[in-house]
Symmetry: C2
Subunit: 200 residues, 2 copies
């Protein structure tokens, strides 16, 4: 490998790094735990990666934790172009798919070719939810906003009139990645209903 | 292991997870790449973890990338209690050490014991900068704000009257973790001086 080749790789990598700074400005619907403001995708991604490290023992035995973490770090990058979709908005969720594929093409395409493939594969694995790693990663992605709503007297549940029934459909995805975390999430939902912070 | 034991572990882990949400509200001195606002520690930690994935090939051969990523994810958690210190403020940097040790004790101490030890060891390894993993992690921590300042017409360099000479001391830490990234950072500093965005 020549020096020029290495320089080209570094320039491509820096272009990608500069671009993904924008993830810090993509706002999600849910609030921080203290309710002070909406969360952005970059800090959300950090938070999920930390959840993976802390809650690793609740994943299926043999899960590759490093891949879970890498998946969570990249899982929302496509939202720089495609924007955040509220998971309870079914129409938006479907229209979103095409926009996210184009975003993956453009954003990961800034990287040297084999890195573009590697990052895109992580994102696709997360979305497909077919591996134990992806199911655990997705479980954490569903759990975090539930915890925030639970600590914000219903938070975005109340605001967008989401019902316990709808939330329990998302809890099923948590159970799928981790039965123990699924049971924990079910408790959160039941407590929120009992407190009047979530419609039954 | 009994179910009660597992429940206790999960409760300790959730207490930690709720607490570290506060990292999203610890503000750093540097701005986002677009200059729109100050960066917070949580999104900064995500960004550094991404830099580690993208720039891995510029680390010393044989570096354990998974440990670099875990180190970067936890490296600023102590700032929830101890606050961010501006790296060019020498007096503050020294007073900070004791506050950070107390913070590590309290924050990581929320976790089950062996996890508390594991996370604390990652933070200590980062701070000691003795392993190739820690040197690479620290290099990225120094590189990211330089890139932001370079893209913000001097950003916090101008604001806090930092000179090229002071910045080049930090560049030495980058070179120590990655000669190639050190050369790249030196170029950034020289360009910033040439453009009049950094005092020589
Ligand atoms: Ca710091």
């Amino acid at each position: 490998m020549t020096t020029a080749h290495h320089e080209d790789r570094l320039h491509a990598q820096i272009a990608f790094i500069l671009e993904i700074d924008k993830l810090k400005r993509v706002l999600r619907r849910n609030l921080l735990m203290d309710g002070s403001r909406r969360e952005n995708d970059a800090e959300h991604s950090w938070y999920l990666a930390m959840l993976a490290l802390v809650l690793a023992e609740h994943a299926e035995p043999g899960v590759d934790l490093g891949r879970v973490v890498r998946m969570l770090l990249v899982h929302d990058i496509v939202e720089i172009d495609a924007g955040d979709t509220f998971i309870y908005d079914v129409v938006a969720v479907e229209a979103q798919a095409a926009a996210e594929i184009a975003a993956a093409e453009r954003l990961f395409g800034l990287l040297p070719e084999e890195q573009a493939r590697e990052f895109r594969a992580l994102w696709e694995e997360f979305e497909a939810r077919e591996t134990p790693e992806a199911r655990f990663a997705k479980a954490l992605d569903r759990l975090a906003p539930m915890m925030a709503n639970h600590h914000n007297e219903g938070g975005t549940w109340a605001l967008y009139r989401v019902t316990a029934r709808q939330v329990l459909e998302k809890v099923a995805l948590i159970t799928d990645g981790s039965p123990r975390l699924g049971a924990f999430a079910t408790d959160l939902v039941e407590t929120s209903v009992a407190r009047g912070h979530l419609q039954p």
